[in-house]
Symmetry: C2
Subunit: 140 residues, 2 copies
């Protein structure tokens, strides 16, 4: 059941015992991730790097998931995110909505991350780093 995989995804993301490998196992062979921080990321190896960068970029994150909406092979996950980013923003109850598309084996083929960024906006530093450029330079 795709919803159970989606629930497991957030458990793994918040677990101090789980590693990137555990998260990557939920993905299919040739997946794609869309996110604010890194843009479009394709393929398991790039996505592995994305999660490893994430772990550095976003520390102490905890998800509080509220609802999982399923329509066919799509599961839409709504909840809240707590944590801090390496560029000086802290998230305290930032609403998030992650859309996961699954194949028939309940593996994630596409992941699109959306935020209601109001939790960030009030705490934005005066000089806002370009997080996308920083993510790219981290890869270099």
């Amino acid at each position: 059941m795709s919803v159970e995989v989606a629930q497991r995804y957030f458990e793994l993301m918040d677990s101090s015992d789980a590693g990137t490998d555990d998260v990557i196992e939920l993905y299919a062979e040739d997946p794609v991730v869309h996110s604010s921080r890194a843009g479009v990321v394709r393929g398991r190896e790039e996505i592995r790097q994305f999660y490893e960068d994430n772990a550095e970029f976003f520390t102490g994150g905890a998800h509080h998931m509220e609802a999982f909406h399923q329509d066919g092979n799509v599961v839409v996950c709504e909840g809240y995110l707590d944590g801090e980013t390496a560029v000086g923003r802290s998230a305290d109850g930032v609403p998030l909505c992650d859309v996961m598309e699954f194949n028939d084996d309940d593996e994630i083929v596409a992941f699109r991350a959306y935020l209601d960024y109001r939790g960030y906006v009030d705490e934005v530093p005066e000089d806002v780093p370009n997080v996308r450029a920083e993510a790219t330079s981290e890869d270099a």
Copy 2:
């Protein structure tokens, strides 16, 4: 059908002929809107003001909707947004995900707006206005 109402919502939002009244008619008696710009907005009159502020805040907006996912009385709408904000950010293909909850009469009882804000991040001005505070002061 809730999906048709969701589709009509975006047609109205992008139509130069439609006004706030047309959008508000899609809402139920006592709805709630969650958005990055204005936080939590309750009730038809407050939501009407929210849309009128929106029209000033966000100009020339156009939605390009890609998918509508339905699970019971929830419709999740994914697409892209173009336009410009009054505080100097322009949106060019900003991914958005709007979650609409309907009652049995296909009226919107809850609306939660999420963005993938990467379309904004590259063009953020040096001094970032506090859009939430500005929205509040507009109401005053």
